[in-house]
Symmetry: C2
Subunit: 655 residues, 2 copies
């Protein structure tokens, strides 16, 4: 018979001791949640620590990421082979897997990076949606898992939680079970300092199944989880009334346990209070045995599942969806498409070009999942034959995310982490600001999510400065491990999409125009030129007098300026620079060849900030210096002086 | 007797005709909301178009900012002198006040910029809070106004609305009345595509008073507003069931009316259906008369109020709070404080230095309002004697915003727009991403809100990469009209605060260290050196061999590197560059003098992107190239090579 009290106390002891050793960290949440987590894992979780990527495992997301020691303690006790006691002893230290917040990819059994509050629950919504969508495609025998989340007060105060909860309710994600750590404490003190929201009522309003339990009553917790699992048409929230820092006689129930070590004295008293006489980082064999039994049960389930997969006749298809895109097929399809484009040379907005590329991609790959934050007709993210995903109808491949940019981005992270799908989603580029928190996690986790961001400059016209990105491209280029594409025409857009889809560990932002742009790449190349980041689009006959470097809709302007300059006998090369990040990765020779030694003029309908590395001391920039305005697009370009005349003039000033 | 039906039809006609003339815009919302808005203005609003900044006016916020023509039509009909028919005819055109979305400062009677959904309702929460706080200070005779909001489905789907609604409920803002335009339509189609939330129940869960009415039944609307005004301890939400595009016989009730002109044929049919035979942009005198009566009533109320203010004995004090900070007093206090600092030379984290500066500022100025998004003890935003603001107790000056960065930023915009207060608020710098949408509106509207953003680099240590800003400073420097300060020591922090508080139309971000930093400015200057943006902190005896430019916590490292170089006979000047934006505003001679002609090394524990203008071709940069890690701060600086040794080496490589 397992002793769940001691199983839970093992979590508490490891948490308080590791935080004390690090002299930094958050003991309160793991100690308060130890009973909830023990019951969840001991009686329900289906995981196999020897096969941490098993597709049909239950997902566990610690949304309150500062409680990372809960995750590390559990994963150590379960016997994950990369989480030995040395990792626990070196919590928050350089070179160890036990980072201050759980980092995806640092250790097995961490399903997503959490820490920025609200991201975990919102990412889990994407995982739970992926489960239903995968189930719709492969059936109950192969896809039958739950997504469990522990969320704190902070997670539920953050705005992103609203977007996620409403979306999950509307989608009827019955396999999503959120346990709210209702401990009435935040950093600043008691929660009633800043909130008086009736959370159960709030979740009910969003269409959730809701229960409330004593978070230290193990049978009550188990009964609630059991009941939640039985509700198949609604996500479930279980309000678990807990005592933060449970077991610490003088500090439990106060914000003093939230984010600081308990101190040696209080830890000694806690050991006594809990009946846990063991030395720090010492776990009795019986406790290990009880936790290992969970792992053994999971392994047996996984072996059964392996047999079912083999017998299903769908193994190849199932595994293919997990393996990422078929690059050979995609390459052939994109190249055939580029051939046609170079001949037809259509003048289209790059948002339309994006849709055209997606028609090719979605026809080639079976598991792309499109969507938009209520701008489907503007972002042009939906292609022929895509059926919406909705409650009870998970066989579709297009998601109406609603006016929820942040929730969409987090859900896409969840879809990507879950595996089996290639999500992409759209909004206006200006509203990248609304989902930046989740884009940053795409980048930090290395998830290859493409963000379709249209209306990418003052070129959107009359909607005015709130909707006109001027600093947004720079702000996204600033983000590590993020490829920002600003394609100039229909061909570059196809190439950017190919890179975005084939990416293995880098998210992509496609900044796309509202306005029509001529096809500039009228000679077909099999080579993906966008993959070079920047390249000479128009070369000069003799030595260059000046190099004009532009992106997106401004490449057309640079080409016209080059014509004007040519008429005056000035040899201007034009470099299209659709992706600064990929250009920075090219070798020095190539970069030097593209940029040349002549003076340079940069052209982008945005601020200059990100251009430092492309321009040098002898250079000029034609772009924006402040916010935009509300007027027709052509007038705005004139008004802000982003014209071929201005580029030509700037070039001549450098000669 | 007023004819409210025709008053409302005037709004509808102006909206559909202006959108048609612009061939761009959103007729659906103004047409659907015309009855609600007419009743609100005709029976309740207290405004004087001849005194648009009257302190005790009711505030009206059109949160669904795409329905801007509702605002312009009303303000035209009321007789605002800057909103003649020529403005309406030139909706969305260059040089006119009638921008695509309502832009604060472009025309009278626009209380805040809206368009990015959810911002209006969240900013209004700040306005309503300011009203109660001002009332607590000056009494019912002088402060007795309401804040009315019209919010759409999109506003209520956005995460920020959750933060604002919960906060308003907890604060018990009885003077806040939100009318929800419940038209069941979003851009993508019917709202049930993406949401099934029971909004009334959701608002009730957050502690609001809730009613539901037919949004075309004028007496029912009036009764609901009347009832809402009578509830003094809870904010009110009135769900107004409306028909989008009301009056357009073939298009009303569909997303076709949302964001596109109705077309000439449908407009003709709408005229017929509404009984509005007048030509485009023609308003019958009786309708003007009815609207002008609202203005006259408001003017009379304002004249009465003027008398009460004069008689109150508080006029000077009241007006002083509206006039901005007392710069002379502040300057004297800050200089006395700087004198002490230069002598004492305390080594403190700049977050602590910020608190020390705030002690001086809050003791000098009566109307600063501090706060933090649940990080009071980390951001150090609370000073001696600050009492919390809470429901029914609005006399305090410190706000526990909860874990709601976006809601906090929007509320600060509202506090600033309302007048009478100087709000500032804190969070971790990494979570600037969570409130960027509202920071952008601070910048676009020119609101001098200071953002206190601590834990500004890998120097925060063990919390790891989710909490370590590496791209955040660059991403904020990218934003137009935003001063980003990264002070190096306790003196620079005081100077940065003085600029932030005295700013009239630019928000400030103070990026502050977690870790202690030595005092580098040990010789007192009355001159505010931070106001120059960058300055020579350590000069060389002879000609410079190299210039080291650093910000914030890295100035100390640059100083050590200069010592090392000096020991090797290399003359290195050190430039402290706490504010790139202010440096860019200096004249060319000063900038050239500071930067010098020697090779340059930039040092910042962040990515290089924003350094383009400070470094030249012959330069190097010592900083971050990707995300951080979880470990003690000192080890991280070593690990990422941001050390005096590395700076000295980089300098020597350039010689």
């Amino acid at each position: 018979m397992t002793n769940e009290t001691q199983m839970a106390n093992a979590i508490r002891a490891l948490a308080m001791d590791a935080v004390q050793a690090a002299n930094s960290g958050h003991p309160g949440a793991p100690m308060g949640l130890a009973d909830v987590a023990t019951v969840l894992f001991n009686r329900f979780m289906k995981i196999d620590p020897t096969a941490d990527k098993w597709a049909d495992r239950d997902r566990f997301v610690m949304s309150a990421g500062h409680g990372s020691m809960l995750v590390y303690a559990i994963n150590h006790l379960l016997g994950y082979d990369d989480m030995d006691m040395n990792q626990i002893r070196n919590f928050r230290q350089m070179g160890f897997r036990t980072a201050g917040h759980p980092e995806y990819g640092h250790a097995k059994g961490i399903e997503t990076t959490t820490g920025p509050l609200g991201q975990g629950i919102s990412t889990a919504v994407g995982m739970a949606l992926a489960e239903r969508m995968q189930n719709a495609r492969f059936g109950d025998d192969l896809v039958d898992h739950y997504t469990y989340v522990i969320a704190g007060d902070g997670c539920l105060m953050e705005g992103i939680s609203h977007e996620a909860i409403d979306f999950a309710g509307n989608m009827g994600l019955g396999r999503l079970i959120v346990m709210w750590d209702d401990n009435s404490i935040t950093i600043d003190g008691k929660t009633d300092l800043s909130t008086s929201t009736d959370q159960p009522k709030r979740f009910e309003a969003a269409g959730w199944h809701v229960q409330s339990v004593d978070g230290h009553d193990k049978d009550a917790i188990a009964a609630a989880i059991e009941a939640a699992r039985k509700v198949s048409d609604k996500p479930s929230m279980i309000a678990c009334k807990t005592i933060i820092g449970y077991g610490a006689p003088n500090k439990q129930g106060t914000s003093a346990t939230h984010g600081a070590p308990l101190g040696d004295d209080e830890i000694a008293l806690t050991r006594e209070a809990l009946g846990w006489p063991h030395a720090p980082f010492e776990i009795p064999p019986k406790v290990y045995d009880d936790w290992h039994a969970i792992a053994a049960r999971g392994k047996a389930a996984r072996l059964d599942w392996d047999k079912r997969l083999s017998a299903s006749g769908k193994a190849d298809e199932f595994n293919a969806t997990l393996a990422g895109p078929d690059k050979a097929a995609l390459d052939a399809a994109i190249n055939a498409y580029k051939h046609r484009l170079s001949q037809d040379a259509p003048k289209v907005a790059t948002r339309k070009a994006s849709q055209m590329a997606l028609e090719v991609i979605n026809a080639t790959l079976p598991n792309t999942v499109g969507g938009s934050a209520d701008l489907t007709g503007s972002n042009l993210t939906k292609t022929e034959g895509m059926e919406p995903v909705s409650k009870g109808n998970y066989g579709g491949s297009y998601i109406y995310y609603g006016v929820r940019e942040h929730g969409m981005a987090a859900a896409m992270n969840g879809l990507s982490l879950h595996g089996g799908f290639l999500p992409y989603g759209g909004t206006f580029l200006a509203f990248a600001d609304y989902c930046r928190g989740a884009i940053r996690l795409s980048a930090l986790m290395g998830l290859p999510v493409p963000y379709v961001m249209t209306h990418d400059s003052i070129g959107l016209g009359e909607d005015g400065p709130t909707h006109q990105p001027v600093e947004t491209v720079a702000s996204l280029r600033a983000m590590p491990n993020t490829n920002v594409f600003r394609p100039a025409d229909v061909v570059e857009t196809a190439e950017a999409w190919q890179i975005a889809i084939e990416s293995e560990s880098t998210p992509s932002v496609l900044a796309l125009s509202r306005q029509g742009l001529p096809c500039l790449r009228t000679s077909h190349t099999d080579t993906n030129m966008v993959a070079k980041g920047a390249y000479v689009l128009r070369d000069t006959a003799g030595e260059r007098d000046v190099t004009l470097i532009a992106t997106g809709s401004e490449v057309e302007i640079a080409m016209k300026a080059a014509d004007q300059l040519a008429a005056e006998g000035i040899r201007a090369a034009v470099v299209s620079a659709p992706c600064f990040e990929l250009f920075a990765e090219q070798d020095a020779d190539y970069r030097a060849e593209v940029l040349g030694t002549a003076p340079r003029v940069g052209v982008e309908a945005a601020i200059e900030q990100s251009w430092g590395k492309l321009l040098g001391d002898n250079s000029a920039f034609v772009g924006m210096t402040g916010f935009g305005a509300s007027a027709p697009a052509d007038e705005l370009y004139e008004h802000f002086g982003i014209t071929a005349d201005a580029v030509a003039k700037a070039a001549k000033n450098l000669l």
